[in-house]
């Protein structure tokens, strides 16, 4: 039987507030264990939590940026469960009145557009971190708990099960990441756990409308693991079903080292979180006016920016998509072209040489050794025929370690393009004289032979001759 996968994602996004959601403890990543804790986030008896205003602002903005309706009356609830990463034995979260609901984002996979619906976005507190004494949770006789992360504000962004492949799930998560970066509510550093996903996967016969039994993989924190976990799980479920078995609804862990998912086999009863309204936190009532104020503060979002780059600058859909996938790169691009650099050249350089260099060195584009202004200046040198595209690659390499202006580098290194007709003519004559065979081939009808001659001229000029002029002069002399 042919099966199709049905995939839904719950993305947890840590917000970039200075303090936790219900207390004034700092949210800084990487502090010594249990130093950013207080009676509130440790769940001591008798404490009174108070909502961080920024968290509500960020929740509303995230909702608006993903086409959600904002709930004007929203409240917190207690989600009861026993796990040592929560000192209170409940997580303060939202149940039936989340801050935002019924949204959508569009994704693009291999040129095919698809709309992924968002069920809801709710605010909640993050849990602490467990350090197990053994290699895994199962073979550990004890665990150590660090509550620094407890109470760090999270948005949980829940999708409908609208995805049907690992590629779509990845594209969706990339889109959410990009939007959260644009609206500046999260650092979205996946390696620090700012952004992680719980994945639900089930299979059903192609054409069937009914949903199959699903399994859940929690805390997937990289795009690669996301794809690997989904692909493995699809294959595993397919095998079980093909063998006439049935899928057990359960939580599985993904082991990145082996690329497989494993049953947690916890004896936990079916989840019964016994949600109840949080009596210590008054409801959040948001006026139309506040919603519109937050809406007006939103920046241009990735999809709109991408459309603008296509329309205004004639970039291809693909190029515009790459440039706008991260806000930092989109801003870098804008800065490069601000002083008149050609947008298409700018896009090529950013996606080509610059990205290659940054990826190899693991540097963020905002910290690029070649800043946007200097790259813009270099592109203008190409536009003015001061240097050729080929020489520009040399100049660019030099700029990575040399903070001088590209103009100065070109001058100091003697890389100025030769556009003087007389000078080029001399080299052309010499090359024609020394390459009789190519000349004969060309004259004999093999027009491609001119390529070899152009190459010789460029070589003789150390790459500095203007290629268009070389072509023109050669053709004139050979045909004349």
């Amino acid at each position: 039987m042919k099966y199709e996968a049905v995939i839904g994602l719950e993305i947890h996004c840590e917000l970039k507030t200075k303090t936790k959601i219900f207390c004034g403890c700092a949210t800084t990543f990487g502090a010594d264990q249990n130093t950013h804790v207080c009676p509130v986030c440790l769940g001591m008896p008798g404490v009174l939590p108070t909502i961080n205003k920024r968290v509500v602002e960020f929740g509303i903005k995230a909702g608006l940026a993903t086409n959600c309706e904002i709930n004007k009356y929203s409240k917190f609830d207690r989600k009861n469960y026993y796990y040592p990463d929560l000192p209170k034995n409940w997580q303060t979260s939202q149940y039936d009145l989340p801050i935002a609901e019924h949204g959508w984002v569009d994704i693009d996979v291999e040129g095919k557009k698809k709309r992924i619906r968002l069920t809801r976005i709710h605010m909640e507190e993050d849990a602490g971190k467990l350090v197990h004494s053994g290699t895994t949770i199962k073979d550990s006789a004890s665990s150590n708990v660090d509550y620094n992360r407890t109470g760090v504000p999270l948005l949980e962004i829940v999708s409908e099960p609208d995805m049907s492949s690992a590629e779509e799930a990845r594209a969706y998560m990339e889109k959410i990441k990009s939007i959260m970066e644009y609206i500046d509510v999260s650092n979205c550093r996946m390696e620090e756990g700012n952004l992680r996903a719980d994945i639900n996967v089930s299979l059903r016969p192609v054409g069937s409308k009914e949903l199959g039994t699903r399994t859940e993989m929690k805390n997937i924190n990289s795009f690669k693991n996301l794809e690997d976990a989904i692909n493995y799980e699809i294959e595993r479920q397919e095998e079980v079903l093909e063998d006439g078995g049935h899928i057990v609804q359960e939580t599985r862990t993904f082991d990145p080292a082996r690329g497989i998912t494993l049953s947690m086999r916890s004896k936990e009863n079916a989840h019964d979180y016994r949600y109840m309204p949080e009596p210590d936190l008054p409801p959040i009532v948001t006026s139309e006016e506040t919603i519109e104020k937050y809406r007006s503060e939103l920046p241009e979002l990735p999809d709109a920016r991408r459309a603008r780059l296509e329309q205004e600058y004639g970039l291809s859909e693909y190029d515009a998509g790459i440039i706008t996938s991260s806000r930092a790169m989109a801003e870098y691009f804008d800065a490069v072209i601000a002083d008149g650099a050609d947008p298409k050249l700018a896009a090529n350089w950013i996606m080509g040489d610059l990205s290659k260099e940054l990826n190899a060195e693991g540097i963020d584009i905002s910290k690029s050794p070649v800043d946007a202004k200097r790259l813009g200046e270099m592109i203008q040198l190409i536009m003015k025929d001061t240097i050729s595209g080929k020489i520009a690659k040399k100049v660019f390499k030099e700029m990575l370690t040399n903070p001088d202006s590209p103009e100065k580098i070109v001058k100091d290194k003697g890389l100025v393009q030769i556009t003087d007709t007389k000078a080029i003519e001399g080299i052309v004559d010499e090359v024609i004289a020394n390459n009789q065979k190519a000349v004969d081939d060309y004259k004999g009808g093999n027009k491609k032979a001119i390529g070899a001659l152009v190459g010789q001229v460029m070589k003789a000029s150390k790459g500095k001759a203007n290629p268009q002029m070389v072509n023109k002069l050669l053709a004139e002399k050979l045909n004349g």
Binding site: H36, K53, S140, K267
Partner: protein, 96 residues
């Protein structure tokens, strides 16, 4: 009886409480009394009462996003039954 023995056992498991078998009747009786008492509320006419999720006339109680001093590790761990290297130490998390 409003509650069954299964209800009681389920609630006990969810709350991580161990209830001895010879105590079950006692707790069943108590739970039943509480729930019967709650039934009194149903006697009230609530036609014109709007549903609420919060009992006090308060809303939008917020704090600014300003860092305050934390407790300090020593104080945080002072009452922990088990600790190790600045961590709270807990017994085995998942049962076999």
């Amino acid at each position: 009886m409003k509650v069954t023995k299964e209800d009681l056992q389920n609630v006990a498991v969810l709350s991580r409480l161990a209830i001895a078998e010879d105590q079950e009747e006692k707790y069943l009786g108590q739970l039943d009394k509480i729930l019967t008492y709650m039934d009194n509320l149903s006697a009230l006419d609530t036609t014109d009462v709007k549903p609420t999720t919060y009992a006090l006339p308060m809303q939008n109680v917020f704090r600014e996003d300003v860092v305050k001093e934390s407790l300090g590790r020593e104080a945080a761990l002072a009452n922990a039954p088990l600790k190790e290297d600045g961590y709270f130490k807990v017994p085995k998390v998942l049962e076999d």
